[in-house]
Amino acid sequence: MSMVEERIHKTFGRVIVKEEKGDIKSKAWASRGFLLKILTFLSPSLLLILWEILAGFHMIDVRLFSSPSRIFAALIPMLYSGELFYHTMVSTQRIVLGFLAGAFPGVVLGLSMGLFPPVRASLMPMVAATFPIPKLAIMPLILIIFGLGEASKVFTIAIGVFYLVLINTMAGVLNIDNIYLDVAKNFGASRFQFYTTVALPGALPMIFAGFKLGMGTALLLIVAAELSAAKAGVGWMVWRAYDMFDIEKMFVALITMAFLGYVFSCMLDLLERIVIPWKSQKN
């Protein structure tokens, strides 16, 4: 106890002292952050080890659940032969084309529906009626219309992405605070200027939310789209492995899909940071 504290203590009996040493970068926080980082790596690794051990001691059926080492052993030759890369590229092309084919009209139509009440009034019933139809249920129809080639697969993905982007874009425009419309009007913005300086940037955060949801759906639909009438792709790999009862290959395909999903979401995040700089600077 310092002299001062002692004196205060004698006078008042009870003293509560709060003191900081003034390090800006607290060590406690730094080490805590480090610990959390280790945890994020540790917990999946532990799970893999557990899986391997259980498989090694035959406590789970390796014919059904395989094991990390077996999957890894199946993965390496597929990587070297370029087989995996080929299937990944085929699926990636379908996803990207389908995503673009769905997102672009989704944004355009979503913006028009958000901006123009007559457009909204005339199209909303159709959107509301067709949106709940599971996209998988219309796959046979798509196959009949678009044939067995690439077009049907791209279209399946496009239709799933389209609705999510459309609805989010429209909501994004409708949610723009009225005060911004008044500002644009008061400062003499023309119709076109209003779209480019208020409607589009105001709706962008929601548009990106739509893109992210759409990307999730695209990954879901690629498996369905490659179920029938396909000869390549990661989704096809899953079904092919199912036919051949090749569990390792199936896991390889699943891992590839997880990886694809991760890469796509990273790319969307990056694009979002570039296109919506005001959002990322908030934190």
């Binding site: 005060i179 911004y180 008044d182 500002v183 644009a184 009007k185 008061n186 400062f187 003499g188 913005a189 023309s190 200027q193 300086t197 208020v198 940037p201 105001g202 962008l204 919506i276 700089p277 005001w278 600077q281 908030k282």
Partner: protein, 273 residues
Amino acid sequence: MEKPKELKAAYQNEAILTEKLTKVFCTRSSSITALQDINLSVKDGEFLCIVGPSGCGKTTFLRILAGLEKQTSGKVYMISKNPEKPLTSMVFQGDSVFPWMTVRENVEYGLRMRGVPAKERREIAMKYIKLMGLSRFADAFPCQLSGGMKQRINVARAFVNDPEILLMDEPFGALDEQNRLILQQELLKIWEGTGKTSLFITHSIDEALILGDRVLVMTAHPGRIKAIVSVDIPRPRDILLLRSSPRFAQLYRNIWHLLQEEVTKASAREFAI
């Protein structure tokens, strides 16, 4: 809104004239008379402050002048002396700064909408950004700034546009005392330099007397003009000196008595409902 030629000749000294201006808002269940029979003339180059209990139609009045709202009946004359300039620019009540534009882009907005070349509008905008003490943040996004700084952007955006008439709706209402004092000083300085016709809504009698040539006191439900008080305090004004002057205290008391009646009436009505 009309701008007939003969009026322009007859009212050389006027900037705004209203005749029996009335605005009724109809909602599903009821109708609210926000403004009733407002007859007002605002002189060219005058700084008019508007005070009144909340909900008395101050914002509505400014929005009609800005062309954002249509009156139900009556006439508004806006007498334009310089047709190349935009007629009105508004400083909106509350946060109206575009979050997706940088400080400079926000301040430049009006100029950009009018097609002023990028280099020129940048120069003009930077001048006001400097005046408002925002130079360091010119390229920052508003989300990184405090409420006070955002309000400065809001004010700068209207001034940069160099309109014939400035409409300010409680621009400093949400600010703390220190920031408000600083901005009032800035506003006085800028305004006394330009002498632009200005309408300024405030809920602070202090602020109205510091800034205004006249103070318009409004009644609520329906919104009418209760009185117009001339602020005969010479310019340029020094806020601190002014506040301690006997004339200021006298005017303050005058306006307070006018307002007090209205505020009590308004709250009595609230209890009745």
